[in-house]
């Protein structure tokens, strides 16, 4: 028929067009490429950029001191991919970096939703992956052989928040009977809520509000009204920076009173950009649980140099995420040094045998980095701080609490401040 010629020629054109995207040739260079997928744009961009900066600072230090001796002084070259805060983009970027750059090891990706997917890709390609910042429990519960996580699992975070509340209750004799939960609706927030629910019930708290909000929410009037309506005595929230800013501002405007405080499990509340964007009065007395000891520069003076470099690069000092990026690169350095090779299997075995008990990799405040059979560091722990007159001071574990720090408990109502 007449039409046939048309389609078939068009098909031919199409088929030839399909050849056009050029394959990028890879070049082999005598350096160690470390791949890193992070959220460099999108809702979690701040944390991703901080992690990236920490990694860069660590790599700079290592290269300045002569690179990796066991590999003939090879320098570390970081290759970054942007997950755009989206899991499928992260997965795509992981594939691209592994395929095109032939990296022997990777790290990232901060967001649990993204890391869950990227570690699957890495597992398929038998490439070791060092997790940075992601807490979703499932990441080290899948029987994967190539995933290693130095930081907290979500269940540790939830546990630590409740332990802090319990400790303060014991110290003062007063504490909350009910808890409200408001979390962001992706992997991180939801898994935190799941853990909290279980642990809180075990400890006898009543959960009067349990809600997640979809990503991209910019108005919390309805949720804040709900909190006023249900009157939880303590609130636990899990929010990334932009949502946290709006929530904190609106709670401040609305004079939201929660007698035993708002307990934020990090992310937004660990981000210096958050503190710049909200009125100082709005964050007074807020509790923040994070992987990092916020006042570490006072406890471990060697970290001040890193803090200074951070200030030079980002305009603010060391953050939890920056420390994670820094720690990750030093951990990888330790692993490569013991592996003595770029072979992925040897690197994997070196990971398994990791036992770091001193050095820059412990900038987070942990005492040890080692990995159990699921790839989880059992010695990971975080700290809980309270914001006292603009300064965040560690109040839990009690052993980490500074001499003159006295937590405020219960929290004064707005009209009494």
């Amino acid at each position: 028929m007449r039409g046939q010629r048309g389609i078939l020629i068009a098909l031919a054109v199409l088929a030839i067009a399909a050849w056009c995207p050029a394959a990028l040739a890879g070049e082999k260079v005598a350096e160690v490429k470390v791949g890193s997928v992070l959220s460099l744009s999108g809702g979690a961009a701040n944390q991703g950029i901080q992690t990236k900066t920490g990694a860069i600072v660590a790599a700079e230090e290592i290269n300045a001191k002569g690179g990796i001796p066991a590999l003939g002084g090879a320098k570390i070259t970081l290759i970054f991919g942007d997950s755009q805060s989206k899991p499928d983009v992260g997965a795509s970027e992981t594939e691209r970096i592994i395929q095109r750059e032939s990296v022997p090891v990777m790290m990232g990706a901060y967001q649990s939703a993204v890391t869950t997917v990227t570690t699957e890709v890495a597992e398929r390609y038998k490439t070791p992956w060092l997790v940075t910042g992601s807490v979703a429990d499932i990441i080290t519960e899948r029987g994967f052989k190539y995933t290693f996580r130095p930081n907290n699992k979500a269940v540790y975070d939830a546990n630590e928040q409740l332990q802090a509340i319990k400790t303060l209750t014991q110290e003062t004799g007063k504490g909350p009977k009910s808890i409200g939960i408001l979390v962001e609706g992706s992997d991180w927030g939801k898994s935190h809520a799941t853990n909290l629910r279980k642990l809180a019930k075990d400890l006898g708290y009543e959960i009067v509000l349990d809600e997640a909000y979809s990503p991209g929410t910019v108005d919390f009037s309805a949720q804040i009204l709900k909190i006023k309506s249900r009157k939880p005595e303590a609130m636990v929230i899990a929010m990334y920076t932009p949502d946290h800013i709006v929530f904190t501002k609106q709670s401040y405007e609305g004079r939201l009173d929660v007698p035993f405080g708002i307990h934020s499990v990090g992310a937004g509340s660990e981000d210096p950009n958050f503190y710049k964007a909200v009125p100082p009065e709005s964050v007074n007395y807020m509790f923040v649980q994070e992987d990092f000891q916020i006042d570490i520069t006072e406890v471990a003076p060697w970290t001040q140099a890193v803090d200074k470099r951070f200030n030079e690069m980002l305009g603010y000092g060391l953050t939890a995420y920056g420390a994670q990026g820094y720690s990750a690169v030093y951990t990888i350095y330790d692993v490569l040094q013991r592996a003595g090779s770029l072979d992925k299997e040897k690197i994997r075995e070196a990971f398994v045998k990791t036992n770091i008990t001193s050095g820059p990799a412990l900038i987070m405040g942990w005492q040890k980095i080692s990995f159990d059979k699921d790839g989880q560091n059992l010695d990971a722990h975080g700290c809980v701080s309270q914001n006292l007159k603009g300064k965040r001071s560690t109040i839990w574990p009690v052993a980490n609490r500074g001499q003159n720090i006295k937590p405020v408990w219960p929290i004064p109502a707005w009209k009494d401040r």
């Binding site: 999108g42 949720q223 009204l225 932009p242 501002k249």
Partner: protein
Amino acid sequence: MDPVILGIAVVNGIVLGGLYGAIAVGLSLIFGVMRVINFAHGSFLMIGLFIPYWLWLLFRIDPYLSMLVTAPALFGLGYLIQATLIAPLYRRERAMVLEPLSVLMLTAGVGLIIDNLTFMAFGPDFRGITLDFASKALWIGDILNINYTRLIAFLSSIAITVALSLFLGRTDLGRAIRSTAQNRDAASLCGINVMRIYNVTFGLGCAVLGVVGCLMIPFYLVSPSIGLAFGVRSFITVVLGGIGSIPGCILGGLILGVVESVAAQFVTATSASIFSFVIFILVLFFRPTGLMGMKV
């Protein structure tokens, strides 16, 4: 459910709803006059939010003042888009049967371009400004509070709507616009330059968005991704209120605002918008002219 909480939810809904109404007014005008579904409506609002944002960030210009810049800028943008991109489709209409969906897809394309150029330029982050008085609120009793910036936005939205109605009813240009809406060919026979009226109307619809954007930026975060959601919500408001009715727009906005705000107390707050869509569908099926619309 505590009646006080319910009452507060209703008040919150009214305040936000008035704003939604003002956002939709431009769309109602454009659709009423030109039968164009402007899929880029939300994208124009997004620009209307970015301009005062940047003016404040770079020069510390008060957003209420930057209306003087934003509204004309958006008028110009709307005029330009209508004159250069949409007008040719009208001319073609005389020759062949025009698929009304072509205009819809054209404006969708425009929206895509605007949204993504902005995305490329500014990134996906949500940005806001912090005015000094932005944290203060009007307190009624101990528990009901309305943030001042939102209150200003609400009252101004009503004012804009009234002003627009007066403009359409009392001025020559307004009458010209209305007559073009009623019957294009008759208006043309009366000596009205129909294409110019179209350009002006589109510009006007966008200028309103410029004003609203300046009202919103003190309390609303802007990002390149908000366009589509606002555009869709504006359609719902217009249909609910009735095509071609400016007061209907405000009424539609108020209803949607209150319904969503109250619903958010019972279901997950972020799923409350489902009710808006349900209302939209019901209105389209059972009362397509909307609450106050003229027979189309």
